[in-house]
Structures are given as C-alpha cells and as structure tokens.
C-alpha cells in the first residue's frame, strides 16, 4: 500500500477500533497512538514532483499542509487524552467523539493528498460531515443553532465550489485530445493552463473563491465561523481552525496554482486582496467588541485567513510569507484554543469579564495564554511576526499603500484587543462577586446566552473551584509548551529543510525568486 493511501485509511482503522471497544480508557490510548502513527507516517512520506495522472500524492505544497495537520492533530490528541478523562468524570462520555475525530483526520488528509479537483471536493464534504457531530457535542439550543449554521452555510459553500469544479471540466474541454486526457488532475491542468478557456476558467475560480472562501470564513461569508468555533469543545475548535480552514485554503490554492502562470491570475489577485483586507478589517472590529474570549479567537481566525488571502493576492515574496504564516498561525491558534479549554474547565465560562485572577487559579495555563497571545499577535520572536513582516515588505516594495494601512492598523487593533483581554483574565485581582456570576449563569440558561456556557454547560460545578487552585494535568499543558517553543524557534530562524519546503510550496504558486 502506498503511504498516501495508508495515511488516509489508518485513521479509519483507529476509528473502527474505538467503535469496537467502546471505552473511554481505550479511546485515550487509541487517540494518542493514532496521532503518533499518523505523524510518523507523514514524516516517512516522500514528497516532490508527482508522476502525471496520480490521484494521490504529496508535492511540496501539500506536504507542508500535511505536516501542519499532523502536528496539530498530534498536539490536540495529547490534549484529548486529558479531555476524554474529564469527559468520563463529568459522565458526559461520548462514544462517537474519538471515531469522529479520526474520520475528520482521514477526510482532511484526503483533501490534502488528493491531486484531483473533484476528489478534493468530495473529501472537503466528508470533512464537513465528519466534524458536524463533534461540533454538536454539547446539547442545547445554542449548540444546535451553531451546528445548523455551520452545516447549512458550509453546504451552500460546498455546492458553490461544486459549480467551480463543473466549470473547470468545461474549461478543460480545449485541452482534451486523443493522447491527452487531463481530467481534473491539478498537475496536468497546470501544465496546459494556457490552453484552458479563460471564460470558464475565470468562472471556475470565482465560484471556487465563493465556495471555499465560505469554508475558510472570508469576510462576507464568515457568519458561521464564530458561533461554531465558540460553541464546539475546545479541542474541536482547535482542530477546526488548525485543519479545516487550512484544507479549504489549500483547495483554493489548487485553483490558484493552476492559473499561476496564465494572464488570468492578474484578475484574481485583486479579488483575493479585497476579500482578504475586508476580512482583516471585520475581524479587527469584532475582536474589540465581543466579550467571549473564544469568540475573540474565532474572529481572529477570520482575520488570519484574511491575511493569508491577502498574502496570496499580493504575489511575489508575500507568497513565501503566506506559506510560513499558515504554518505558524496553525500552531499558535491550536495552542490558544487548547489552553482556552483549561480556562473554561476551571471557570465554567469564557466571558472575559467573569474570568479573573487566572494566575493564581491556573498558573501554568495562564502563562501559556500570556506567552501565546504575544506569539499570536505577532510580536517579534515568533514565526507569525516573520510571516507578517515578509508580507508587509512586499506591500511596500509593490507600493500597495492602501492595503498596507488597513493591514497594519487592523492588526494593531486586533493585537490590542487580544492582549488586553488576556492580561485582564490573568492578572486582574478583582473577581466579581459570586452572586453576580451565578446570576449570569442562570441568566445564560434562561435567556439562551450561549457565550456563558461554553465547554461546560451550567451545572454548578464551577463553584467548587472558587478561591482555590485548579489542578492542571500534565497533558493538558504540555503540548502547548511544545508549540510555543516551535513558534519562537521559527521566529528565530527557519531550518534549511523547512525553508526548502516553504520555497518549494511558494514556487508552485508562482514565486520565482531564490530563498528568502
């Protein structure tokens, strides 16, 4: 069996095993084992130029995304080991949780490895369906609403991107000759890109932006993302923003890759820039306004997807920056969402104004959150800073001052909003009186204010912890430290092999200069 196929199928095997044993204890070993297996397989998978007509395979671009997925899943899984333990304690153990995690992993791996536009589309749909039960893990109206929004808006997006696939079939009509049958193979389409019909090709790209842009959460179609990411359990949010958004981005990049060498790309770039900057702007506005910390994180995800779209739209060195940025953002966002899970377990809520004195209650997580938010906001010794800096450099050299201004001001606003709320949560010494908090939680129950109930539907347990320290498992903080160390290391210097991978990925997208 080829390693690619093994990568896609092995999670399915683990899912079946978990379904067979039906026990939380076994699940904990399975999820850690499955993740480690996937990671090892990923490392041993070769990458490079793929033989023509291959259905599955990893070129530099997809290998980069595969690596991200594998690392993100590995850290989430170690966290999950502790999460599943808590599930058992709260007698809310969900049989489908681990199998669906694996199904999601399998589908996202499929998206990344597939070299056929139609196959990519099918895997995207599978990933969406697999993540639905994970999002609907907690029962209740708000959670159902979030689930419905997610499924419905994404299904419309997926249908739109299907029109993109159809238009691509039509565009490739001009290539088809007795000897050549490109089908929808990315490499073949890219090779014959100049012979694609520009009209249908343009249509395909527009629908792909509309469809996959919806899945990515680009600004006018982002409405589902904050609800979903806020109300899903923290490890699931971490996977969604670390894996699902990336997969949608990669699917969009495939279209970009095909047209990278044609004159059409000049029309697509402004579209990407406009949508990207708009997303950044929207997310900056909302990060300052919303009160729930997880919601802030999800809006910042929208902004970061906007940054990626802008980077790709700018072209040139910014593409390299965007590749580096994808990697670092996923690590940072994954780490933040996982840490958020510790906070919501300790406090029973994620509303910033009700979380106080974190440094004494959950010291390790507090330090994590504090370091993480600086890394995420793009302060210097972090890979995120480097990625943003490369993009800004490209804006200046290309004279894109308008984008430059929006980009910098929005990012500063976003950084201010995030850092401020974290500092409040961690250091502020004035906890609101207990009765207020209970009042708010009861209010949340009646009024349907979902934000107060994240990760721990109100059942009164939170009061047990008031005043005292809450124990933190080793596994619920360890993966985040590793991620932070990785992020800082990436900010200090990029190892040669990774640099090769990043520039290889960027050159597939039309970047022609040497290393950075």
């Amino acid at each position: 069996m080829s390693p690619e196929l093994a990568l896609i199928l092995s999670p399915a095997v683990f899912a079946l095993l978990s379904l067979y044993f039906r026990s939380g204890k076994v699940d904990r070993y399975l999820i850690a084992g499955g993740a480690a297996f996937h990671f090892v397989l990923t490392l041993s998978t070769g990458h490079g130029v793929q033989p023509a007509g291959a259905l599955l395979g990893a070129d530099n671009l997809s290998y980069l995304f595969l690596l991200i997925l594998s690392v993100v899943f590995l850290s989430t899984s170690f966290y999950n080991v502790s999460f599943i333990g808590h599930m058992g304690k709260e007698s809310k153990f969900e049989l489908l949780y681990v199998p669906m995690m694996f199904a999601f992993l399998s589908a996202t791996t499929g998206v990344i490895l597939s070299r056929h536009l139609g196959l990519t589309w099918i895997f995207i749909e599978a990933a969406t369906l697999a993540s639905a039960p994970l999002i609907g893990y907690y029962r209740g109206n708000e959670f159902l609403e979030a689930l419905w929004k997610y499924l419905f808006i994404c299904s419309v997006g997926i249908a739109l991107s299907f029109i993109g696939v159809i238009a691509m079939v039509e565009a490739s009509k001009g290539i088809a000759a007795p000897q050549i049958n490109p089908g929808l193979n990315v490499d073949a389409l890219g090779f014959y890109a100049k012979r694609l019909s520009p009209l249908w090709g343009g249509l395909a790209f527009v629908f792909a932006i509309a469809g996959y842009g919806t899945m990515m959460g680009l600004a006018p179609m982002h409405k589902w993302l904050p609800d979903t990411h806020t109300l899903a359990p923290s490890p699931v949010s971490a996977m969604l923003s670390g894996a699902l958004l990336n997969c949608a981005f990669l699917s969009l990049l495939r279209y970009y890759q095909i047209f990278a060498s044609t004159p059409l790309i000049a029309f697509f770039r402004p579209v990407l820039i406009v949508m990207g900057t708009f997303s950044i702007f929207v997310s900056a506005v909302y990060v300052l306004r919303v009160h729930n910390f997880k919601r802030k994180l999800s809006y910042s995800s929208i902004g970061h997807m906007g940054i990626l779209a802008t980077g790709i739209g700018l072209g040139g060195t910014a593409i390299y920056g965007a590749m580096l940025y994808t990697l670092c953002h996923c690590l940072a966002k994954n780490m933040m969402f996982l840490t958020t899970g510790n906070f919501s377990r300790a406090f029973g809520t994620m509303t910033v104004s009700t979380i106080r004195d974190g440094i004494n209650k959950v010291p390790v997580s507090s330090w994590l959150l504090l370091t993480g938010v600086f890394a995420l906001a793009g302060f210097p010794p972090s890979g995120i800073f480097l990625g943003q800096f490369i993009m800004l450099k490209q804006m200046v050299t290309a004279g894109n001052w308008f984008v430059f201004v929006i980009f910098t001001t929005s990012l500063s606003a976003m950084a201010y909003g995030m850092v401020k709320s974290v500092v409040e949560m961690v250091f502020s010494k004035h906890p609101e009186s207990g009765s207020d908090r209970i009042g708010q939680r009861v209010g949340g129950r009646i009024g349907g204010n979902a934000d107060n109930r994240v990760d721990k539907p109100a059942d009164g347990n939170a009061d047990d912890h008031i005043g005292g320290r809450v124990s933190e498992d080793f596994l619920s903080v360890f993966p985040q430290w590793v991620l932070i160390i990785l992020l800082v290391a990436l900010g200090l210097g990029i190892p040669g092999k990774l640099n090769e991978l990043l520039s290889g990925a960027a050159s597939l997208l039309g970047w022609s200069l040497g290393g950075f």
């Binding site: 749909e125 159902l144 499924l151 997926i158 299907f162």
Partner: protein
C-alpha cells in the same frame, strides 16, 4: 426544461407547503427525464446510476421524508418569509430574465453553452439561494436548498455530461439534504432560530420539546 423554469415561477407564488413538495417532486422527475435525454453521451452504467439518483433520491425519497416530517410536526402553511407572494414572483421573474441574459452573453463570448439549459439552471441556482436567504424556517430553508441543488445538478448535467463521474459526485449534495432532514426530525424543530437579533423566538416551545429539553439538560 421549460416546465422546470415554470416550476420556479409557480413555487414563488405559493405559500402552501404541500404544493411546494409537489413542485420538488416534479423537478425530480424532470431531472430524471433530462438524464434519459443525455443517455447516449452518458453510457449505460452512468445512466443507470444517475437514474437511480434522480428518480429514487430526488423524486421519491426526499419528498417523502419531507412529507413525513411535515405531517409529524403538523406544519401546513409557510410563515415567516421576509418577502410576500407577489414581490417574490417579481423577484423570480427578474432572476429568470437575468439568467437568460447571462446565458446569451456567455454564448456570444464563445463559450458554447446551451442558452436554455444554462439559463434555467442558473435561475434555479440563484432562486434557490434567494430562497435560502429569505426564508426563516428550517424546513423551508431546506426546500430552498433543494431548488438550489437541483439547479446545480442540472448545470452539471448540461456542462459535464462528458465526465459523468463528476455529475454523480453531485449526489454528495443530497447527502447534506438527508443530514438536514435528520437533524430537523431528531430535534423536532418546528420553527426557526436562525433569525436577526431582534426577532429571536423560543424555538422549542411545545410540550414534547420541553420533554426533550429536560432530557438533554440532565
């Protein structure tokens, strides 16, 4: 094909859900006839598969399950639309006209589309999207999505009959419809709660729902 266009106009005027359902069934049958019409390009195997998909799934299974849900939840008339019947008809006509204009433009740009099929499927897609946006109830949103999806299917049939696997991949969209219906049925959602902030209503205000609520909050 013309009937399909007419069905869009008709669906915009009615507010009775059972006539909606009839139209959806009719659309399914029409799609089936179109598959038969394309049989010579598709080949036997793919024709059989697509027949199964259109006739069994689109024309029988989905309408039946919607009918079952409507009966269980005792919904007859549609309420909570943002735009009224007449305006809706005007919108549908405008969409139809604009889609045909677009189709003619595309043809003149040398894309070689069939004006009729492209126009009708495009208008179905756009009308379905408008339907999804202007409806507030789950079940009617799903119906809007079905119209949208039928349009997508028709377009895929018209454009890529050469690559039937792609057309068949469209059945994956029906899976979504199935999931929607299951969600609606499992949670017995009568009303809506996807609404603008000022219009929030308690969706689960009925005795049996209270019971379920109790069950879930335990």
């Amino acid at each position: 094909m013309l009937l399909f266009g007419g069905s869009i106009l008709f669906i915009s005027t009615t507010s009775r859900l059972d006539s909606y359902l009839k139209i959806l069934t009719l659309q399914g049958v029409l799609l089936f006839l179109m598959v038969i019409g394309h049989a010579d390009t598709l080949g036997l195997l793919h024709t059989a598969l697509l027949t199964l998909q259109t006739l069994v799934v689109k024309a029988i299974a989905i309408p039946l399950s919607i009918y079952y849900i409507l009966k269980k939840l005792e919904i007859k008339r549609e309420t909570g639309r943002y735009i009224g019947g007449f305006l809706s008809l005007v919108v549908a006509t405008a969409i139809l006209v604009m889609s045909f204009v677009l189709a003619v433009i595309m043809k003149h740009a040398g894309s070689g589309v069939d004006v009729l099929s492209f126009g009708v499927s495009m208008s179905s897609i756009v009308y379905g999207l408008v339907g999804v946006i202007t409806r507030t109830k789950f079940i009617t949103q799903v119906m809007g999505y079905l119209i949208f999806e039928n349009g997508v299917f028709m377009m895929s049939l018209a454009l890529s009959a050469r690559a039937p696997v792609i057309v068949e991949a469209g059945v994956a969209l029906d899976v979504f419809v199935g999931v929607f219906l299951i969600v609606i049925f499992l949670y017995r959602i009568k009303s809506s709660f996807i609404s603008t902030p000022g219009r929030r209503v308690d969706p689960l205000a009925s005795p049996e729902i209270e019971m379920l609520k109790e069950f879930f909050s335990r």
